[in-house]
């Protein structure tokens, strides 16, 4: 593991820390980068009990088998990406050890687990207009009747590929975007959020911010 001072997040060049606030105070849209999480790509046969149980044994939670769902246990999140593909998200620094533990547990089986922690940048998006911002660039049905806390999906956001994970009902999303596209994605999000009033929040504050406003449950909230 490289020393922390040697590392740079995908959006480091935007100096978001200097722009961030702790209290977004009335902003309709709140953005932040969520840098440095462990991310593993897991491939395997979900119809194979040995594989499913082996993964569950290591993670303490099963890989979700329903399309576009997310299983969470403690600080481990497992997102469904495909019938034989998952993304495991862990706290920073645990990825190398987890790759080894999964590899040991599944030894002899046909599977693939790879550390892809730096493949995707993660952008946190919340606020009462967070969904509207995504609707400007994503053709999925993100209405609560179709997409909820615990839902995930891979799609396009404007002109880049993203993995969306809805965290709560505010709504709050984690947007996983390939690292090289993250600068574009961030600029696009800022632009789309402009009309709702947006703030950049300190990464440490996003999890404690709760928006009390309730949304209209209409297809849009203009």
């Amino acid at each position: 593991m490289a020393k922390d001072y040697l590392r740079q997040s995908a959006l480091a060049h935007l100096h978001l820390a200097a722009l961030g606030v702790d209290d977004p105070d009335g902003a309709g849209v709140v953005l932040c980068e969520r840098p440095f999480r462990g991310q593993l790509s897991l491939r395997g046969n979900s119809a194979d009990h040995e594989f499913v149980e082996g993964v569950q044994g290591v993670l303490g939670v099963g890989a979700p088998l329903d399309p576009n769902t997310v299983n969470v246990a403690g600080n481990i999140t497992v997102l469904w990406l495909g019938p034989n593909e998952w993304l495991i998200v862990t706290p920073d620094g645990q990825e190398t050890e987890l790759v080894e533990r999964i590899s040991d547990a599944l030894a002899g089986q046909h599977f693939a687990v790879s550390d892809v922690s730096d493949s995707r940048a993660i952008i946190g998006l919340t606020g009462i207009h967070a969904r509207d911002v995504l609707m400007k660039g994503c053709s999925l049905d993100l209405h609560p009747r179709a997409f909820n806390a615990g839902s995930c999906a891979q799609s396009s956001l404007a002109r880049c590929h993203v993995l969306l994970h809805q965290i709560n009902e505010i709504p709050t999303y984690d947007i996983y975007v390939h690292r090289s596209f993250s600068d574009y994605a961030w600029r696009w999000l800022e632009d789309a959020a402009r009309e709702y009033g947006f703030a950049i929040i300190n990464q440490s504050a996003i999890d404690v911010v709760t928006q009390r406003s309730t949304r209209k449950e209409s297809p849009v909230s203009a």
Binding site: A2, A158, W188
Partner: protein
Amino acid sequence: MSQQTYRLAVGGHIDRTRPLSFDFNGKRYGGYVGDTLASALLANGVHLVGRSYKYHRPRGVLSAGSEEPNALVQHGTGGATDPNFRATQVELYDELVAASQNCWPSVSFDLGAVNSLFSRVLPAGFYYKTFMWPKAFWKYYEYVIRRAAGLGRAPDAPDPAYYDNMHVHCEVLVVGGGVTGLAAALSAARADARVILADEQCEFGGGLLGAGEQIDGMSTDEWVAQAVAELASMKQVTLLPRSTVIGYFDHNFLTIAERIQDHLGPMGTPDKARQRLWKVRAKQVVLATGAHERPMVFKNNDRPGIMLASAAQTYVNRFAVKPGNNVVFFTNNDSAYGAALTLAEAGIKVAAVLDVRAQPTGRLATKVRDRGIEILGRHAIAAAMGKKRVSAVEVMMLNESADRLIGTARKIACDLVCMSAGWSPAVHLFSQSRGKLKYDANRSCFVPGDSVQAERSAGAANGTFSLAACIVEGHEAGLAAATDAGYNKNASVPKAPVRQEIEEAPVDPLWLVPAKAGEHTNKHFVDFQNDVTAADVVLAAREGYRSVEHLKRYTTMGMGTDQGKTSNVNALAIFGQVLGSDIPDVGTTTFRPPYTPVTFGVLVGRDVGELADPVRRTPMHQWHESKGAKFEDVGQWRRPWYYPLPGESMQDAVNRECLATRKAIGILDASTLGKIDIRGPHAAEFLDRIYTNGWKKLAIGRCRYGVMCGEDGMVFDDGVTARLGENHYWMTTTTGNAARVLAWLEEWLQTEWPELKVYCNSMTEHWATASVAGPLARKLVAKLTSDIDFDPDNFPFMSCREGAVAGIPARVFRISFTGELSFEINVRSSCGRALWNTLMTVGEQYGITPFGTEAMHVLRAEKGFIIAGQETDGTVTPIDLGLEPMVSKRKDFIGKRSLSRPDTQREDRKQLVGLLPVDAREVLPEGSQIVEKVDDKPPVPMIGHVTSSYYSAYLERSIALALIKRGRSRHGETVQVPLEDKVVPAKISAPQFYDPEGVRING
């Protein structure tokens, strides 16, 4: 400022407490909030608003809605100007500026009107007939014709506004917010379906806004307000006023252009889009788009002051404007009688109502007669008089079969003519959805037939014109749509509204008022916007056109910005009459999106400026920027091209970068190369099938170069693949092909070889790659590493090791694209910048020099390494490239069979060679054609082309790679490269100019 002398004292949906002023053709006028530009102009007595397209005839306001063909204006100024805005849809705002189009020097005195004098010699197809000959002259004709053609002006400055898009899903999209649409939306929403209700006007109510009727004991205004309030209170409903559904595409995908801020003018908020394109995926659609009233086709029916009867009624009821003081009605159906009553009640003198039908007996007609208004049965307007405003009409009787005017003409003075030739349902979106229309002879209109997509039409759009029936049909359609979308919680349709039914007599179609004896119908306008007359339609039929689509293209009928909303049915009925065909046999032309014109801006949305296309950045991007690198786009990646020092030209910089790499050490950001992790017990077998060469014997820790072909045997991509473990490989691809190669691998695994146990994962973005190359490269990496043995015997060319470089876990590949001793160091992307910084700092003592893609190209060309996509173009086999030793004879691979086709075995195929211009200073342009010798005249057979060409600073001469027929057997021969101003002789050589023995690469 002109007074609003035609404004009624009371009534209307205007706000008299909020007066506005505006500028039309340089003159100031007044109006109110709630006005359209058209209603405000009429309130000021202005009827002449534009000139027609071809004959420049004076034109006025025909309609009160989006079907308007005449009142087209240039709206706004500077970069914010828009042509062809319909004055009937432009909401008035303070300080609005608009001007007439297609006239010079002014709308009142227009020189182009001279065309009108020649209308007899400017018939349909005039351009086609006249400018066909001589053929070579078209380019001169075109110049003049293009200048004369077109309406309005394009802005000459950037648009200051911005536009965006929004995706939305719903169960039921209701198009049209009139009574039918409101009822449909209510029923669907009450069943808990997510509903979007879109209407093109600023307020809901549709045709009711202009009608003075009663529903359930309420005024129509109250009924609408109540419905809108209920919808607004439901969280599952989205109301979109000022929103035109412009397109109906496959899979119930529809687009809506919302005019968010147009009505605020330039005073809108800068943080909001001016317009928004909604991209709607609806489970069900209810089309409640209403109907368009048809004009009567008589002589001079295009004069200002002649308008649709329903429009006149709307101007009175909704805008409190008198469109005239003295009106003559001309109709073939009962709806105009309602308008006549409205106008009469507003104090407008109704001089007469002419009815095509012999004895109008409907209830409304009786009411009109009871008011003492003269009704003339079986009468028609033979001609309108007046030029810039109608002043009188000439009235004559129709014979029994309505194909001749008879009796003596009577002149009736008037300043307004209201006409109604019946109603055409607005079937445009239904037709776009691929539904087939059917003709309803009783109602003389096309109505929707069988649906193709999940939609239903209701109300006037369905040919149902009575108010009560529209409400019932709307409710039924809304509920049925919700039910079909899976939402029906015991909802039911409310009972039919209580309303006194008006008995209507059937419409009696009169498609064309016959010309008077001895006259033609060349002033009987059918298509106002494109100046198509009844005579033009007749001419087309006489000249042999039989298809309505040909009629359209020959006469340009329906090809204006209004797409013939008011003219199509009249035109094809007249066409049918001439051909002796029934209307259903003639059919209609195709309706295409958009329903009404839209700005380019709203279609483009935010894909402009820096958001037009993503720029992919490597982890080291900022370093390159800070060093003043010039960048090159490679796919969406932005890669450093070269790093000029102050005062250096591009060639200077590239020369310096190349020499530094050859003599000391160069460093390249290679993070963009595609990297694919391949695992599984069948990984080697899989690679064997993908690549032309064999992989099973590759030892762990070793690398091999591979070429992959398509099924056609042509080179598709190349790169180095390493074996990291027993069942674990690491494939690299070219930068531009990374995603395509992964998709290619997945396609074969998923569709052809599901039995292979292999997983492929893209690792491109996880790893940052710094490639250090040059004779001193080993010294540098060894200095930064303690756990890798860099001894050449222990870490030979084409092998890989893992260890820590500069304190960062790394995968180091000893591979080379430059021909030098070279190491590609891969670290996780977050550490890419730190690795780069350290290499640069520590490398300073060795003279480390960053080089860009241009120097990389030169270095690899000196060595004769190909670039897929540069030396290959989809027609080049590995054998053409001289890679025959890499094409396995022992195993099968994708493309192998194609390599034994006669064509791929031809002896005269183009083969990769080196090319050395005889003049060593001459750098050939890439793509240059190569010939044996230059003949005096064509054809000169081409024997090949230059694929890569550079100046090599190391070799102190120009070099090139080329594909030349039989090239491999022609080393040493001279060929000719003809350029624009000279012919360059060049000598064919082997495609390796530098270190062909590989001493340096293996060193």
